[in-house]
Subunit: 208 residues, 2 copies
């Protein structure tokens, strides 16, 4: 393989790993697969990242970060819960439409592997941003409840409901593909419909 400046190769390996981890999950992806995709020797993957777990960690945390930033930008601009729900659902759908495997990736790795869960936990717990975001959301909810704009809801439950509905819309994509239609346009239409449905159902649950 033509030698690249080290950073380039590292980058290429990460990208290939990303694609494969997203497609098949951690377990089903081998460092040999990754090297094959890049077109380099398998030992090179270990040269740059030492272990497979390490390589995974870097990729995983990138996504955790990207999603956090998404939430952050969003919550700072919204002044009402209804607004926030609309924006956050739209943002998630836009993001995940670009990377439709990310939801599966997250669900799978968070649920299947206590090790991976710990990884995320480490970067979340005592994480200033997480606490800040949650507090801002709580405050926003309290204000709207006091103003009689929404009914009394638990912030955790609200988050869980939104995340559930959004994630499963994407988790169901392979099923939609196999059972209903494999036409790309149909899948796009399905996602648009789901975005509306998710928003509707959450907003319904907030009505006084």
């Amino acid at each position: 393989m033509a030698k690249l400046s080290g950073d380039d190769m590292q980058q290429k390996i990460m990208e290939a790993a990303q694609t494969l981890f997203l497609e098949k999950g951690y377990m089903a992806t081998s460092t040999v697969d990754i090297a094959k995709k890049v077109g380099c020797n398998q030992a090179l993957v270990h040269y740059y990242f030492r272990t497979k777990q390490n390589l995974f960690k870097q990729i995983y945390l990138q996504y955790v970060n990207a999603l956090m930033q998404l939430g952050k930008k969003n919550i700072e601009q919204c002044t009402s819960v209804v607004d926030l729900v609309h924006e956050i659902i739209h943002l998630y759908f836009t993001f995940f439409s670009q990377y439709p495997n990310v939801p599966y990736f997250f669900v799978n790795e968070l649920i299947v592997s206590s090790e991976h869960r710990k990884m995320v936990q480490e970067c979340f717990i005592d994480n200033q941003m997480r606490i800040m975001l949650f507090n801002q959301l709580t405050q926003l909810i309290r204000n709207d409840i006091a103003a009689g704009k929404i009914r009394d809801v638990n912030p955790y439950a609200l988050i869980q409901n939104i995340v559930s509905l959004v994630l499963t819309s994407f988790l169901a994509l392979p099923l939609y593909n196999d059972f209903i239609s494999s036409d790309e346009a149909d899948k796009q239409a399905y996602l648009h419909r789901r975005e509306q449905e998710c928003e509707d159902i959450i907003l319904c649950s907030l009505k006084v």
Copy 2:
């Protein structure tokens, strides 16, 4: 190992495999693991089931069936959508509380493996019962809409929303365990809360 009458051994292997597949998923479970759990030779697993995939299939279809039966019994007894929503959510929560890994098992295998998806597809497509159940649900919805008892909803969307909210309540259990509380009573309380929340949110979305 003391020799058992063949059926007993087959049964024991299936049960061990079930436990392990549910706990760790298909990929992470080896036939060696299964044999170890049973306390028999690994070749015996292959003697009875020939391949690991085969063993998995039998277990998987058992659950598909169990969940179908659950739905069937339920839909036949309900006369209104609101009734049905209440009953089905309760039934799912009761069932999954007994087997809290089943939701993960399903989601994971359906999403990760197109082969496993095909397996389910084969037993679903052209499946009389599935069609019947869906038709009954559609009829029930139509009646209630006509009677002004619920607003116009798409049956598919309703099903997806219910399944989403229920499944993710269980998918989130490991997270709840690690991030919030590992106390068994707390987890039970969480599930009870979720059951109520799922019902509430769905019923809200049905209000005229």
